[in-house]
Symmetry: C2
Subunit: 359 residues, 2 copies
């Protein structure tokens, strides 16, 4: 099997090929993209989203290819995804090895980096992982926390004004510190992982009490509550305070639980998944980014946000790291949004023979 | 934990209690049910569905209860479920231990049993299984094929006129024999299992080529094709001949693949699953039963059939064996059908900020 590698050259040649194929269309969407960023700049108060999380260099090997170094981390995947919908800023930390060119990726998508601290004498967080044919399971080969080990989120005054906040998967004490600095936020969401559920459960529960939306995967929902039935587990999590729970189920889609309702969608059907790294954060970025673009943050908007989150995640897994998402156009995003409608629609015609028989 | 047991007494007292609670309503739906059966009798040519499969006595133990003997088998679960929508008949075999009272269950639901052979000197097929807390996995403790070991399906002339046929999970040579005796059937569907995929693969593939719809679970789709990706596996199965593939995914719902389209739905959210035995056949019964009630068997009808199949399966798992489905009313079925619409609906409003920015 021919395996793919990642990297700038490979990325460029593919991008060039796709530009050529798309012809002028690509240029049009580029211009629309720039106009969109300009529009967002002027809207920063109304449409502002803050994410705290990791910015990392990932090394990934899958059965289909290998990449020695690419931009990764929860805040990177989240913010690039969210940038298609809203003005988003990162709170995080990188090392001296995070070059100007690396930084330019965020600039290109209009992502705010005032609060992305750079520690010249340190090294950026690194993660190395491998996926076997069961792409649902990531095998961590190496984790170098580096500058992330002593990360203390520092928020500028602008960041404290954020309307929506996403507390990416970091130590729950730090999540709570950030949350408490933005008491006026209209909606705060949180992600977490098995490590924090096992080792810092009490702190995590306190953090969960203070957020509006929890966004986790189904295994985490079960582990967090100790309840094998997902529906019961969801009720339990909602009873702790959050008004909504989003459960990511990988190839099986995602579900939204609120006190009153249940909403569930399948995943976009992909014939091949290339690299699932960052899919969860890309989902969260689409979900929160879309919500941030909406005036009303009710359940109707959340349902559409679930679709946009799934759309973004479905693109994310098609290539290494953030490569595919970085080439997206709004047209492609909306096309896939419409595909979700087509693949979930049925006519609401109840069974009626019995009434006919009676007449 | 208080564990439930099954059996007539338990069943009766529960039914009595629920009749009392429902008051006259219950009687009304009983009368409607009778009228519905009468109506079906007069419609047997237009609305006829045939199932070939097992009729069995099951013994089941779950973490929540235990049942030493209850009606089971693919044809039983399928036909009782389908009887809520159409006129259904069974091709199968039972032993001398299958009492008149056992037989009356089928009569009550208007299920045709002309081709349910009774071998007085033999014993009915018996299955004994156990579920642990992971209710997705059935542990078979004992299988006594008994009269089923030498089962040769025999079709009456009336059965050969069936408009729709379901080939339940039996040896694929037998499935093909039945299929070939009903060449004029408008739609033939098939179920199978790992045993036949492993031991009689060639025969199974020949049988699949001759049917319109394959209804299996996701593990079976992967095993049948040797392809881990479900979407690719589905394309492969469709390339063999069937025009539709239904994939049952347990707690994750179900998906319908056709050459052109993909349709996927979640499962009904249940806080507790009591006994999953027969859920797949109950799904198939709802799916085929509903289709049988429709004049046009196109994709629109199949999508609704997916919902009715899921509705019936969701009731099935709430109690032992066929107990819950046997107490169902059309009102309850339609209520849950509508719940599926509520839990999958979202407004088709694409993301539009970029257009606003351009204006």
């Amino acid at each position: 099997m021919l395996k793919k590698i990642c990297g700038r050259l490979a990325g460029r040649s593919r991008q060039a090929a796709s530009s050529k194929a798309a012809g002028t269309k690509h240029h049009v969407s580029d211009s629309l993209g720039k106009l969109f960023r300009l529009f967002l700049e002027t809207q920063s108060k109304k449409m502002s989203l803050l994410v705290v999380g990791s910015v990392a260099f990932d090394a990934v090997e899958t059965p289909f290819g290998k990449c020695e170094k690419m931009l990764g981390g929860s805040a990177s995947h989240f913010s690039i995804s969210a940038s298609f919908f809203t003005k988003v800023s990162i709170v995080g930390v990188v090392g001296g090895d995070f070059s100007d060119e690396d930084h330019k990726v965020f600039d290109k998508y209009g992502i705010g980096t005032h609060d992305l601290e750079r520690i010249a004498g340190g090294k950026t967080f690194r993660w190395r992982g491998r996926y076997d044919y069961d792409l649902n399971v990531a095998h961590t080969l190496e984790t170098q926390l580096n500058v992330f080990a002593d990360f203390k989120p520092k928020l500028s005054e602008e960041s404290k004004d954020a309307r929506l906040v996403f507390l990416g998967n970091i130590q729950p004490d730090l999540q709570r510190e950030v949350r408490e600095q933005i008491p006026k936020a209209e909606l705060v969401a949180l992600d977490t992982m098995n490590l924090w559920i096992e080792n810092t459960r009490d702190s995590l529960l306190r953090t969960i009490k203070g957020v509006d939306v929890v966004i986790i995967n189904d295994a985490e929902a079960r582990q967090l509550t100790g309840i094998p039935n997902l529906i019961k587990a969801a009720r339990t999590i909602l009873s702790w305070g959050p008004k909504a729970l989003v459960v990511k189920r990988g190839e099986y889609g995602a579900a939204l639980f609120t006190e009153e309702n249940y909403f569930a969608i399948p995943a976009y059907p992909l014939e091949s998944v290339f690299d699932p790294t960052g899919a969860g954060d890309t989902f969260a970025g689409g979900f929160m980014g879309y919500l941030s673009s909406q005036e009303k943050l009710g359940e109707d908007a959340m349902r559409r946000a679930m679709i946009f989150g799934s759309v973004m995640a479905s693109f994310n897994v098609e290539e290494f790291g953030t490569e595919r998402v970085r080439r997206l156009t709004h047209h492609e995003i909306n096309e896939r949004f419409r595909a979700f409608k087509r693949m979930t629609h049925f006519e609401e015609i109840p069974f009626e023979r019995v009434e006919q028989a009676v007449r």
